[in-house]
């Protein structure tokens, strides 16, 4: 079995195993799940470490023709855009399994669904075929629904489960229509992203079609990522979901839409992207500012982190809307960082809920005294959430802000406001109310994470956040070449726009020009574009030979 298939199928095979084992062997289920996600994690780590840097070539490629007449292939592969996401997904899945020890009843179903979700989302990230890409993502829909209903919490979990399911299906279907339209418009008769990209390079999609398909994908994927104003499902759903589901969903599955935008919408529809990113940038403010403000008003910790998770998505959108290499790279970093962070916060929220029976912040206080480990990790997570250096969110957000500034200066200013201040306000308020202050009498016997095993998931996620935060080149060196390729088609037409924006910002006065002239090839002098283009072509030729080997 090839390595990517191995990563995807470990959880799926685990699920089949669990389905076949009788209910009475309850001990086995958790073990199998840990083993399956652990193996996936190991595989993802291996791929991540063996990943060849500095190239946009697709690595670990696997290609099996699947449906001939439609041009659907089982096509897996990683490049910079998804290698980190894959690792993050596997890590979160493993951590989610670890924290699921709180599940006591109907373990068989629970772990089965958990593995299904995991396999699905890893498959979605590894797929290079539109069909499988979509297909794998949708595997998570039903498990989410059942998990919220059966193991969820709160009185309104019925409403939450239905809302999240309907909303996500709506988004997924809109995206599906966009994908199918894209397939039809390219005329390449293939769902294979690689082949499609190659085809589009020679025969671009007509501009009018791009202008229709891009917003379809933007809204469809946007709904999946809780783009404002289609975000209300997220707080509701995550507030009611069991811990592991919320971790996987908010952490990993939600990134699918962003990944789709980067992998498909932007490279294949450059003109559509040019035209619509302005709107995307404005909407992302809805996430950053508006949802941040909403998070400030929440009295329930679960809702607070859910809203904050929605708010953070704004950075990823902004990075994509920048259509610049720096911004897009930043967006990918944000995706990974937020995945880890969201999983961590939801994991901690789950711990608190399990121990306290509530997440109403008014009923907590001074918990840090009783929970030095969990509380400490929670403080770090909240600080990471407000963009503190040392955690992976910081490099991502910084790159996004820098990358998007020239195209959207005002929006970046407001985004920085949201990230630095609004984010800090609600994060610190939560810490203040829950962990600081006096410990209520009835909370005196709240136990901390007792042993290393209990601490492991939180420690793992936090460690990943810190490692990527301190050494962001682990991510960016892998991402850059692929991000460059993703926006290569946009850049051609983008140079003039950037120049225009630059002129608008700094005026046309001569001294500025002179100073700007010193920035090397900042303005994409002809050499710059030519270099980019030749790089792209060489990338293509490498891939071509790669495919030939498969065929």
């Amino acid at each position: 079995m090839d390595s990517l298939t191995f990563i995807i199928f470990c959880p799926l095979i685990g699920a089949v195993l669990i389905a076949l084992i009788p209910r009475s062997f309850e001990v086995l289920f958790r073990g199998i799940t840990l083993g399956a996600t652990g193996l996936s994690l190991a595989g993802a780590l291996w791929i991540f470490s063996e990943f060849e840097l500095g190239t946009a070539r697709i690595q670990y490629e696997e290609l099996v023709p699947w449906v001939y007449s439609l041009g659907i292939n089982y096509h897996l592969g990683v490049d910079g855009l998804n290698v980190g996401l894959l690792l993050m997904g596997a890590l979160v899945a493993f951590a989610a399994t670890c924290v699921s020890s709180e599940i006591r009843e109907r373990q068989k179903e629970f772990y089965l669904l958990l593995l299904l979700m995991t396999g699905g989302i890893l498959g979605a990230f590894a797929s290079l075929d539109l069909f499988f890409f979509y297909f794998f993502h949708e595997l998570a829909l039903v498990p989410t629904f059942i998990m919220i209903g059966v193991w969820g919490r709160g009185a309104n979990r019925r409403e939450a489960a239905f809302t999240i399911t309907l909303y996500l299906s709506l988004g997924a279907l809109i995206a599906l229509v966009g994908l199918v339209a894209l397939y039809l418009e390219t005329g390449a008769h293939t769902f294979d992203v690689v082949a499609m990209t190659r085809h589009v390079a020679a025969h671009p999609v007509s501009e009018s079609a791009q202008n229709i398909i891009f917003p379809l994908l933007m809204i469809g994927f946007g709904i999946l990522v809780s783009l404002w104003p289609f975000h209300t499902w997220a707080p509701l759903g995550y507030g009611a979901a069991p811990t592991a589901t919320a971790m996987l969903h908010a952490g990993v599955i939600k990134k699918f839409g962003l990944y789709g935008l980067l992998r498909i919408a932007v490279p294949l529809l450059p003109e559509g992207a040019q035209r619509w990113v302005g709107l995307l940038a404005v909407l992302c403010l809805g996430n950053l500012v508006y949802c941040g403000l909403v998070a400030m008003r929440q009295k329930n910790f679960g809702l607070l982190i859910a809203n904050s998770s929605v708010a953070h998505m704004g950075f990823a959108f902004l990075g994509i809307a920048s259509l610049s290499l720096i911004g897009v790279t930043g967006a990918v970093v944000v995706m990974i960082a937020h995945g880890l962070l969201a999983a961590l916060t939801f994991g901690l929220g789950g711990y608190l809920h399990q121990r306290l029976g509530t997440l109403e912040m008014a009923q907590m206080g001074g918990l840090l005294r009783r929970l030095p480990f969990v509380g400490g990790v929670l403080i770090m997570a909240m600080l990471a959430g407000c963009g503190l250096p040392g955690f992976a969110n910081f490099p991502g957000e910084i790159l996004v802000l820098f990358g998007a500034f020239i195209r959207h200066p005002v929006i970046v200013s407001l985004a920085a406001w949201a990230g630095l201040i609004i984010g800090a306000v609600y994060a610190l308020r939560a810490v203040r109310v829950m962990l600081h202050g006096e410990l209520p009498q009835r909370r005196h016997d709240t136990p901390d994470a007792a042993n290393a095993w209990r601490k492991l998931p939180y420690a793992l996620l936090l460690a990943a956040l810190v490692v990527f935060g301190c050494f962001p080149r682990l991510l960016t060196d892998r991402i850059v070449a692929s991000a460059q390729q993703a926006i290569a088609s946009v850049q051609g037409s983008s140079v003039a726009e950037i120049q225009h924006a630059d002129d608008r910002l700094f005026g046309g006065s001569e001294p500025t020009k002179a100073s700007i002239g010193q920035r090397g090839a900042f303005y994409a002098g002809q050499e710059g574009i030519a270099a980019g283009r030749s790089r792209r072509q060489s990338g293509c030729s490498i891939r071509l030979t790669g495919n030939a080997a498969h065929e």
Binding site: C291, I398, P409, S413, L420, V431, V480, F506, P511
Partner: protein, 632 residues
């Protein structure tokens, strides 16, 4: 030798980080180990700094943290360390004062159950602060800037179970963030305009000329960072509250180093403000002067020993910022006075805080000066060192504060006489409130039972006091200013006179400034003596009547901000929440699903179950189909 030794800078930076990480991971519950780790790390950093300083090492060393080349320009974020006169001196201050305070903490924090956490925070702070000092580009500066903010947050909130401490830590962090917002925007703008964040390159490119409004805007935005960190008006409100942290923390962070980081940063990137045509220096000077006066006025009516010191810190920071602004007003100037004052202030203010800590410890955490008195006899070492620091602060020659403050007054005399007047007034107020403190707490009669049991603190606390007294007294003769001038104007600083020349230099250079400052200070002492030498109650409210109230209540800034936030941010948040709940979540989402369901409920009323109805609808449907397809 030199090329190799720039790498030594890493040895300054990394031990505290290692200590912080080590304590967090391994020794959180082992007080002795954590203390040793932390103190060892800061001492090591101090040792290396000393080597760097004495060897006069200059140059830079870097590690690429992030680098993205997009074919148009490169976004490089390096963790670059820059060694020059400015950073070497500052390293010495930070590690020197830091070492002393670390050791002092050993005594002060004895018996607390979270010593490990305390030292971890302290080490993290040292690392971040050293990072700011060494940074050679804006991004690294910003990173460490943020880390300083967070370590301050962790340390202020060290006793998190006290609501006041928890609130204060939150307030400090958020207020800092407000400044950082502007700071970050400034950095982004700089990068967008000049394509680099490296100080040296930026200095060149800005020097080459820009659009006229750009330096002003960037300068003001960058200054926002300093306003937050150095607690300048209007973001000064967090510093007094930060006194809720342990006293050594107040000494290290909120007196000597962190708050000075803003001023250090202004000096470090002085080229931004020095750009011709920039309006920023005027604003900076006025903000600094205003803060100095405001804080001094408030300090006059404070009764908490640490708060008095905190407002005094604010006031002195105002001086420094004022100095930077004054320096930037004219072409070709340099902000040496600000750095000079920063250095001396670090020593004597740390000493003051440690002295206050010693008193607080002895009185079992009593901080109200009106419940002290007569401590001079019971705690002689504390008293004499405290007095020395006070004299330095008031600018009485030959204590170090006189020289550095005089440099600022001289600069003001050169540039802006109105600001000189303001500065002199502040000098008067400074000596007034400081001697008020000395008289009430140390010299006057005991005002409560508390001082009766007071005893001199143990050696581990008094020794640091003594150590710090040395630079507080004699730093004025060391020629710190010429060392610094050498940084800004290579070659000019070498012609320093001997120490005796140093002593009399102020009176030669700008006699008006020197004498006015000195007279104001002496007047302040006299006033304080007259008013407070034998009082058990503050007579000032009686004398000033209604005017004393706003002073005591800090000019109502906290109340005003509370209202402001409630009016703006909370209203916005409430509005957003309501929109989310009622408009988006309610009207749109629930409305859509509800109306669809309603359609369904209405539509299925057609399914009456009656055969005749069905037959009728069948035929009706057929009629409609025929009409639609074939017409009438």
């Amino acid at each position: 030798m030199h090329a190799a030794s720039t790498h030594l800078a890493w040895l300054v930076l990394l031990p505290p980080l290692g200590a912080a990480a080590g304590i967090t991971l391994l020794a959180l519950n082992r007080p002795a180990v954590s203390a040793r780790l932390s103190i060892g790390a800061i001492l090591a950093a101090f040792g290396v700094s000393l080597v760097l300083f004495t060897q006069g090492v200059e140059g830079r060393t870097a590690w690429t943290w992030l680098s993205i080349d997009d074919g148009r320009g490169t976004f490089v974020a390096e963790l670059g360390l820059r060694l020059d006169h400015l950073s070497c001196l500052m390293l010495l201050v930070v590690t020197g004062v830091g070492s002393v305070i670390h050791i002092y903490s050993l005594g002060y924090m004895r018996g607390d159950r979270s010593v490990g956490r305390y030292f971890a925070g302290l080490s993290l702070f040292s690392f971040s602060m050293l990072g700011i000092v060494l940074a050679d580009n804006f991004l690294m500066l910003f990173i460490c800037w943020e880390l300083v903010g967070v370590s301050s947050y962790l340390l202020i909130g060290f006793w998190f179970e006290r609501p006041a401490a928890a609130d204060a830590s939150k307030k400090a962090f958020l207020t800092n963030r407000l400044g950082d917002f502007g700071f970050l925007l400034g950095i982004i703008l700089l990068w967008a305009a000049f394509g680099t964040l490296d100080f040296a390159e930026l200095e060149q490119r800005i020097g080459a000329g820009t659009t006229p409004w750009l330096p002003s805007l960037v300068g003001l935005l960058i200054f926002c960072g300093a306003v937050g960190k150095s607690a300048q008006f209007p973001l000064h409100v967090w510093l007094p509250d930060a006194m809720e942290g342990p006293t050594p923390v107040s000494a290290l962070i909120h007196a000597a180093t962190m708050v000075a980081a803003g001023v250090y940063m202004l000096c470090r990137v002085f080229f931004v403000f020095a750009a011709p045509g920039s309006a920023a220096p005027d604003v900076i000077a006025w903000v600094g002067g205003g803060t100095a006066l405001l804080a001094a006025l408030i300090a006059v009516q404070q009764n908490d020993i640490k708060r008095i010191l905190a407002y005094s810190t604010l006031s002195q920071l105002g001086y420094m910022v004022l100095a930077v602004g004054l320096a930037g007003m004219a072409a070709g100037a340099h902000p040496v006075p600000a750095m000079y004052h920063l250095t001396t202030h670090a020593c004597f203010k740390a000493l003051l805080f440690l002295g206050a800590g010693s008193v607080i410890c002895a009185l079992r955490h009593e901080q109200d000066i009106w419940r002290m008195g007569g401590l001079a006899r019971r705690m002689p070492i504390t008293f004499w060192t405290f007095l020395a620091a006070t004299l330095a602060l008031c600018g009485i020659p030959p204590f170090s504060g006189f020289f550095s403050k005089d440099a600022i007054l001289a600069l003001a005399w050169e540039r802006q006489p109105v600001l000189l007047g303001l500065a002199v007034a502040v000098a008067f107020l400074t000596s007034f409130y400081m001697f008020r403190l000395v008289w009430v707490a140390f010299l006057g009669p005991a005002k409560s039972q508390a001082p009766d049991h007071a005893r001199e603190s143990p050696a581990v606390m008094t020794l640091p006091l003594l150590v710090l007294t040395v630079p507080s007294v004699v730093a004025g003769f060391w020629g710190i200013d010429s060392y610094l001038i050498e940084h800004f104007r290579p070659g000019e600083g070498l012609s320093a006179p001997g120490w005796l020349g140093q002593l009399t230099a102020p009176f030669h250079h700008a006699p008006v400034a020197a004498f006015s400052g000195l007279i104001a200070a002496l007047l302040g002492i006299v006033f304080a003596w007259r008013l407070y030498s034998h009082r058990v109650q503050d007579p000032l409210p009686g004398l000033l009547d209604a005017a004393a109230r706003p002073l005591r209540d800090k000019f109502y800034f906290d109340e005003f901000y509370g209202r402001l936030i409630a009016w703006t941010q909370d209203t916005l948040a409430r509005g957003a929440d309501a929109v989310d709940r009622w408009v988006i979540g309610g009207a749109l989402v629930k409305g859509a699903s509800g109306s669809i369901e309603l359609c369904g409920r209405l539509l299925r009323l057609v399914q009456t179950g009656s055969l005749q109805t069905y037959a009728f609808l069948f035929v009706l449907g057929a009629v409609v189909a025929i009409v639609l397809m074939l017409g009438w």
